[in-house]
Structures are given as structure tokens and as C-alpha cells.
Symmetry: C2
Subunit: 198 residues, 2 copies
Amino acid sequence: MSAIDELITEFAKLPGIGRKTAARLTYFLLKQPTEASRRLATTIEHVAERVSPCSVCGNLSEVDPCEICTDPRRDGSLLCVVEEASDITAIERSGEYRGLYHVLGGRLSPLDGIGPDDLRLQALEARVGNGTPVREIIVATNPSMEGEATATLVRGVIANPAIRVSRLAQGLPVGGDLEYADAVTVAQALTARREMSS
Amino acid sequence: MSAIDELITEFAKLPGIGRKTAARLTYFLLKQPTEASRRLATTIEHVAERVSPCSVCGNLSEVDPCEICTDPRRDGSLLCVVEEASDITAIERSGEYRGLYHVLGGRLSPLDGIGPDDLRLQALEARVGNGTPVREIIVATNPSMEGEATATLVRGVIANPAIRVSRLAQGLPVGGDLEYADAVTVAQALTARREMSS
């Protein structure tokens, strides 16, 4: 196999990238200065070598514990439970959250053979029991069927009645269009409607 | 910038890959064994270091002249002119062509500032004049406005009346659906209709 074919094959292993896109990426790189390809290669290697899950929360980081876990300005009594480390970025971007995180490393999905034992639930229980007392756990699993099932599972794991367990609100996305919203979202937005102050 | 953000930025430089897709690719790699990322990085480097344009035809190859130019079973009197080296793969896949190639390295595109001087036209003229006499030149530029203009330009460059210059046929794509074909393609298919033998 030629070097070009090899690279097309490697690119095509990435999610959402078929052989045609993989070929386009390969030929794009070939049109760039060698330096561009080398920088991409080096960056991929750096990430592979330097980034690993934080032993406390499961966030992906170059240091252990991660920057969020060791940030003294963060509220250690607040824990946000997410499915994947990539979900942390979305919540951080909102600028609305200053607590810590706990990455489950997936979601309940019997069809894919992912059960409760495959999620970092024991680590969550241990964290809630030790150190700074946890005041609230925000369950930020995805608003999908698997995410809901996972949220219920997390809820069941938190036995301490002093800890508030909440779930991200569901409703119309901001800037969305009612006309194009799906029926389930509209139903959810109706059920969870909030009173307007006069 | 963290290693993760750096890789997201690098991926986002690739065509058709926005920041969200770049983040998905990055987190996908982080979920794979380190070996997978390392293999991707090495392959990218190999391509950058080993692959370069063939000095004869412009095809991208690890050897110079490329495998096609040096293949003795190929018909040297037949030349297929393409815009990019990646177009060669498409023609090779058809299994219908056993001649040589000539890569222009682009197409006429005044809006992008690409004029006749940016295409490998002089190299084409030189090739047609030297070595094995060329019998036919198949102009396989894209069936787009720029491709057509480029084809006309190539036609003008071939002064020798003994050389046949042809263009790839245009019409309905095989396996396509007349109902969904665009009007220009249908018009083209009508104009270029072929008599059926009885």
C-alpha cells in the first residue's frame, strides 16, 4: 500500500470520515507545505502522549489532578456529572458553572453492552463520601433516552438525603424556532413551563 | 493553549472540518489506544516526507518519475489531462484507461487569481513535442464552468493537427435518476444523445 493510501485508510478510521473525505484531507495536506503536515502529526502525538484522564474527576488533562480539580476558586461542594470529558467544555463555555465535575465515561446503553459497571459510579460514591461535603449534584447527562436512564441511575446512587440532586432543564433551545422544534421538546417545554413574574 | 485545544485547532484547519468536528475527532483519538494516534501521526509524517509530484506528469508519488510514467505496459501515445493529482485515482478506478497523465495543478479561476501561468501548460507543450509521439489528448478537467474554460485553454495549446483532442462525455450519471437530474445535465444528455443500433 502506498503512503497516500495508508493515510487515506488512517483518516477513514476517524468518526464521520468516509473514504472520499479521507482522500480529500490527504490531498489537501499534500498541497500544503510539509511543515503543516508535520505540525499536525506532532500535535497528534503530543495529545496521545501527554493527555490522560484526571484520577479524581475523569476530565482529560495534561496534569493529574486536572486544572479544574486543583483550582482553589472552584466550589468543591458542587458536582456536575457528565457522560464524557468533552461535555465539560460545553458547560465551561456557558460561564455559568464554578463547581467541580465527575465524568461517567459513557452512558447506560444495553444495546452497546454498556451497563452500570462500565460507568464511574463507585468513584462518584467515594467522592461524595470523602473530603469537602457535597451540597448539590447536577446531573448533566444528555437529554436522550440513554442519558435519562443514566441520570436515574446516578440519582439512585446518591443515598445521602442532605445532597440535592438536580437535572439540567429541558425546553426550547435559546434562539431556536418554535415552528421547527420537535414535538417532544415542545411537550417538555410545556410541562416545565415557568410562571412569569408580573 | 492546552495540547487538546492545539489539536482541535490543527484539525479545524483541514477542509470541511469545523471546530465541532475537530473536537469530536480529538476526543475520539483520546478514547483510542495511544497506538492508534501514533500510527496516524506517523502516517501523516510519512506522506509529508516521502510523497512529492512526479517531475514528468505531476502525479503525487513516492518515486520520481511515478509508477504510471514508468509502467512499460502503458500507452505513451495517450495523454489524459486532469486538474489535480487526486483526479487520477478516479480515472484509474474506472479501469478504462491505460495511457499516461498530465496534471495541470489547478484550473482557470480568475476569482481565485489562478490564470494560465499557474497551470502546467508549458510542461504539457514540451511533453507533446518530445519523446513518444502523442496520438490523443483526453481533456478530463471537471464538468464545471472553470473546468470548461480550462479545457478550452488546453485545446488552444495543442497546435499539432495530427493530435486528436477529446473531452470526457457529459450526460446522466450511471445509476442516476432522470427525475432528480439537474436541468443542465439533462440538456447536455439530450444534445449529446447517441443513436441506438437496431
